[in-house]
C-alpha cells in the first residue's frame, strides 16, 4: 500500500518538532532552516500550517529536471532527488507550483521531501497528530467520517 503524508493544520501547535526531526534525519543536525517540511505561523489569525511536498503524480519538478536527477521511488511513490546527479540548476524550484523543492547552498543541490524512504520522521515526531502517514487513497477518510457523523447527529 502506498501512503501519503496527511497534514491537518487545525491540530498544529507550531512546535517545530517536525522541522527538527526532518533536519536531524537528513542533516544530523537540529536545524529548522534545513528542514524539508515547514510550519507557518499566521500570527494575526492564530493559525499554524505544516506544509511540504505532496508528491504529485505528474511531478513538475521531475519533468522539468534537465539531467533526470529526480526519480520516482517505486517503494514509496516519493519523488527522490539523486544528489550525485543533481547539478544545482534550480529549474525544479521554478517548476514546482508549491515551493516545496528548495536549494541548499551548503551542498549546491536541491532538497525536497522523500518520505524518509517510507518512515517519515516528521510524522513520528509530531505530538498532536497534525502530521500522519496514511493510505494514499484514503487521506480524506477521517474528514468524511466526521461530516457523515455530523449529518446524522450520531455519537461516535
Amino acid at each position: 500500500m502506498l501512503r501519503a503524508l496527511k497534514l491537518e493544520p487545525e491540530k498544529c501547535t507550531g512546535c517545530l518538532q517536525c522541522e527538527m526531526a526532518c533536519s536531524y534525519e537528513n542533516e544530523q543536525l537540529f536545524n529548522p532552516s534545513k528542514s524539508r517540511i515547514k510550519v507557518f505561523n499566521f500570527h494575526d489569525s492564530g493559525r499554524f500550517a505544516p506544509y511540504t511536498c505532496t508528491q504529485c503524480a505528474e511531478a513538475w519538478c521531475l519533468h522539468s529536471c534537465p539531467v533526470e536527477a529526480i526519480v520516482i521511488n517505486a517503494k514509496t511513490g516519493a519523488k527522490d532527488v539523486l544528489e550525485e546527479v543533481c547539478v544545482g540548476c534550480k529549474v525544479c524550484t521554478i517548476a514546482c507550483p508549491f515551493g516545496t523543492v528548495n536549494y541548499n547552498h551548503d551542498t549546491g543541490k536541491v532538497q525536497k521531501c522523500d518520505l524518509c524512504g517510507g518512515q517519515p520522521a516528521c510524522a513520528e515526531a509530531c505530538p498532536t497528530g497534525a502530521i500522519t502517514y496514511v493510505d494514499i487513497d484514503q487521506t480524506g477518510l477521517d474528514r468524511m467520517r466526521a461530516h457523515a457523523q455530523r449529518s446524522l447527529g450520531a455519537s461516535a
Binding site: 501547535t13 517545530l16 543536525l29 537540529f30 534545513k34 492564530g46 505530538p127
Partner: protein
C-alpha cells in the same frame, strides 16, 4: 556536547564585539543557562553595583538542550542584577529566540557598559553588529518588531526587544521576544534599556549538533515526550486550558490572592478562568481563545492565543488590537484580575496585550495597581494624583487605563512604574506592598499553601513561584501529596524544589515539564547530550551549588536574614474564608529549620563546610 562553546561579548561603551570560548570548567560545575550565566555575572560584577549603571551586565543565555529536539528545549534566560529588587535576577523565556541564538552558534551574549546612543544587536551566525536604533527607540515592541522585519527583509529573523516602559525607567520592564513571550520578571528589560539597547535580532542557520550520544539522546527525548503526553496535566490540562487550568483549583483551596491579598478567594474567578476563555461571548459570538500554541520544540503547547471582542470598550475603532495575540496566562489573569477585583475577561486580555506590546511584568503591574487601589481607598492616593481616575477595586477601567499610562511612562503610570514597594513607601504605607525583597507575589497565597510562604521568603529573586513550586506537592500531589496547611517537613520540601528547579532552569528546558517530569526524566537527556558525567547526584549538587551561589551574591549585595520574610498581612491577618480560614502563614516555624537543612548559619549565611562541599 550540548554547548556551542562560543560566548559573544558585546562592549556597548566601545561598540566592540568579541568571541571568546565558553569556560568549560564552569560549564561542568553550573551546566548552562541560569547556573552558568549567573556564575559569569557573579565573577564579573560587584554585587553592590547600581543595577541601572553601565557597570552592571546583562547576559542572554541558553542551556545545553536549547535548540535540540528535547521537548520544550527552546528556553533562554536573561541574567543580571535586578533594578526592582537589587538581588540577582534571572528571567526565563520561551518562544523561538533561544533556539535561534543557539542555531547561530552561540551559548550566550554578554552585554557590558552602555552604548552612547540607542542601538540594536544584529546577529547572523558568525556575523554580529551593533546597528542604529534611532528609528525604533520610542516605539513599542510590536512596532519595533514590524519595522525590523521590514528593514532586514527577512521573515525568519527572531527578535527580542524592550518597549517604551523600559525606556521610561519602569522598574519592572520585561524583554519580550516573538511578540508575546517574555523574560518577564525582575525588570531585566529596564537594565537593557539603561544600556541603550533596544533589541536583539537573530538569524541562525547553522543548527544544533554535537550531541554526545545521538542514539541515546533520541531515545531519552522520545521517552520524555511520552511521559508528557501521558500525564493528565501536561497531556490534557495545559494544552486545553493553559496555566489557567489552575484558576478555579487554587480559588477553591482558598489560596487565590484577592484585592491586594486581603482575601484568599475571588468571587469572579470562574469568569476569568481557562474555562471561561473557551466560552462563546455574547458580544461577537466567538470565544476569547483562538488556539493553543507551542514554544520551540514543546510538545505540551500551553500558550494561549486570544482575540478580544471588537465591541469591547478597550478596542472599539482600534483595529491594531483586533488580531490574535498572546492571551492570558494564569499569573497575568490573577494579578490583573483577582488582585484588583476585576472579572472582565476582555479588559484583562487587553491589559495583557499591552504588557506584551510594551514589555511589562503583568504580575508586578497587577499587584502594584492593587496596592494603589488600597492606598486610594485609604485616601492617601487621590484623584489629584491619578489625573481624575477613580482607583476602586473592581474597576476594569482603572486597570486598563493605568496599564496604558505605565506602558508609556505617562502621568500616574510613572508612579505605578516604581513597583509596589516604592509606591507604598512614597504614599506612606510601606506595609501595603505585597512583595518580598521588592518583588511582588505570584498567584498562590501562602496562608492557604504554607510551604509557599517559605519558598517566597527565601527565593533569591524575591517572591516568585518559579524558584520553588511546592504547590506541585501541596496542592497537586506531585511527586507526593503534602498537606498545604501544615508546616512540618516544608523546609526539606522547599529546599528540594529550589535545587531541582535550579537544575531545570540551567538545561534549556521549561520548568512546566516538571508537572510530569522529575529529574529522573531530565537526567538521561542531559547525560546523552553533554560531555562529562551528568548523573542524578551531580545534577542535584549543581542545583544546590547554584542556589548557594545566588544566595552569596545577594548577601554580598546587602541582603540579610531580615529580608527572608513576608509582608505583615500574610503573617498576622488570617484568611477569612476557605479551607485556610483562620490561618496566617507560619513562616517562623519553618525558617530556622530551613537554614539548618541548607547548612546555613542562623543568620542565613552558608556555613564554611557547606561552601567547601559545593566548591564555593
Amino acid at each position: 556536547m550540548g554547548w556551542t562553546r562560543n560566548v559573544m561579548r558585546v562592549n556597548l561603551t566601545s561598540g566592540t564585539i568579541k568571541r571568546e570560548p565558553l569556560n568549560m570548567d564552569w560549564a561542568n560545575q553550573y551546566l548552562g543557562q541560569r547556573g552558568l550565566a549567573s556564575k559569569y555575572l557573579v565573577e564579573e560584577i560587584d554585587p553592590k553595583v547600581d543595577p541601572l549603571s553601565p557597570e552592571n551586565k546583562l547576559i542572554f543565555t541558553t542551556g545545553p538542550l536549547t535548540g535540540t529536539m528535547a521537548s520544550t528545549g527552546g528556553r533562554y534566560s536573561v541574567v543580571t542584577k535586578g533594578p526592582l529588587t537589587g538581588a540577582i535576577a534571572c528571567s526565563n523565556s520561551g518562544g523561538f529566540l533561544g533556539a535561534e541564538l543557539k542555531g547561530a552558534g552561540w551559548d550566550m551574549i554578554i552585554f557590558e557598559g552602555k552604548s552612547p546612543k540607542p542601538v540594536y544587536l544584529y546577529v547572523e551566525n558568525d556575523h554580529a553588529e551593533l546597528m542604529d536604533a534611532s528609528e525604533i527607540w520610542g516605539r513599542s515592541i510590536w512596532d519595533a518588531d514590524h519595522i525590523l522585519h521590514a528593514r532586514h527583509q527577512d521573515p525568519l529573523i527572531r527578535i527580542a526587544a524592550v518597549g517604551r516602559a523600559a525606556e521610561q525607567g519602569c522598574l519592572f520592564s520585561a524583554i519580550v521576544n516573538d511578540l508575546h513571550r517574555a523574560a518577564g520578571r525582575s525588570g531585566v528589560g529596564t537594565v537593557m534599556a539603561s544600556k541603550n539597547v533596544k533589541a536583539v535580532v537573530l538569524r541562525g542557520t547553522r543548527g544544533v549538533g554535537n550531541i554526545k550520544d545521538p542514539k541515546a539522546f533520541m531515545q531519552a527525548v522520545n521517552a520524555g515526550k511520552k511521559v508528557l503526553a501521558d500525564n493528565a496535566v501536561t497531556g490534557q490540562g495545559l494544552p486545553k486550558y493553559g496555566t489557567q487550568v489552575l484558576m478555579n483549583v487554587i480559588n477553591e483551596i482558598g489560596a487565590m490572592p484577592t484585592r491586594n491579598m486581603r482575601d484568599v478567594q475571588f468571587e469572579g474567578a470562574s469568569k476569568i478562568s481557562g474555562e471561561a476563555m473557551h466560552e462563546v461571548r455574547a458580544g461577537d459570538g466567538r470565544a476569547n481563545l483562538v488556539t493553543n500554541a507551542a514554544c520551540f520544540g514543546c510538545t505540551i503547547a500551553c500558550g494561549r492565543i486570544s482575540v478580544i471582542d471588537k465591541n469591547h470598550y478597550t478596542i472599539v475603532n482600534r483595529p491594531q488590537y483586533w488580531g490574535a495575540s498572546g492571551g492570558l496566562e494564569y499569573e497575568a489573569a490573577w494579578a490583573l484580575g483577582s488582585d484588583t477585583g476585576v472579572s472582565d475577561l476582555e479588559a484583562l486580555t487587553y491589559a495583557n496585550f499591552l504588557c506584551n506590546e510594551d514589555g511589562l511584568d503583568p504580575i508586578t503591574l497587577g499587584s502594584t495597581i492593587a496596592a494603589a487601589m488600597e492606598l486610594y481607598e485609604a485616601g492617601l492616593i487621590t484623584k489629584e494624583h491619578t489625573g481624575g481616575l477613580e482607583l476602586k477595586f473592581g474597576s476594569a477601567e482603572a486597570v486598563t487605563r493605568l496599564t496604558e499610562l505605565t506602558c508609556r511612562g505617562e502621568g500616574f503610570g510613572r508612579d505605578i512604574g516604581l513597583g509596589s514597594r516604592r509606591l507604598c513607601e512614597k504614599y506612606g504605607r510601606p506595609e501595603l506592598s505585597m512583595s518580598v525583597k521588592g518583588l511582588e507575589f505570584p498567584a498562590y497565597d501562602p496562608r492557604g499553601i504554607q510551604g509557599m510562604g517559605l519558598a517566597y521568603a527565601t527565593s533569591n529573586r524575591g517572591a516568585c513561584h518559579l524558584r520553588g513550586y511546592t504547590v506541585a506537592s501541596e496542592v497537586l500531589g506531585i511527586p507526593v501529596k503534602t498537606d498545604p496547611l501544615v508546616t512540618d517537613g516544608k523546609a526539606e520540601l522547599v529546599k528540594a524544589f529550589q535545587d531541582a528547579t535550579s537544575v531545570v532552569d540551567s538545561t534549556g528546558l521549561c520548568v512546566f515539564t516538571t508537572f510530569a517530569w522529575t529529574l529522573n526524566d531530565i537526567q538521561p537527556q542531559v547525560a546523552a547530550a553533554c560531555e562529562g558525567d551528568w548523573s542524578l547526584e551531580k545534577l542535584l549538587e549543581v542545583g544546590e551549588r547554584i542556589w548557594n551561589m545566588e544566595r552569596m551574591f545577594n548577601n554580598a549585595a546587602g541582603f540579610t536574614a531580615k529580608d527572608d520574610t513576608l509582608p505583615k498581612r500574610l503573617l498576622s491577618e488570617p484568611a477569612q474564608t476557605g479551607p485556610a480560614k483562620g490561618k496566617a502563614n507560619d513562616l517562623q516555624k519553618m525558617l530556622p529549620e530551613y537554614y539548618k537543612v541548607r547548612g546555613w548559619t542562623p543568620e542565613g549565611e552558608p556555613l564554611q563546610a557547606t561552601r567547601a562541599r559545593l566548591g564555593l
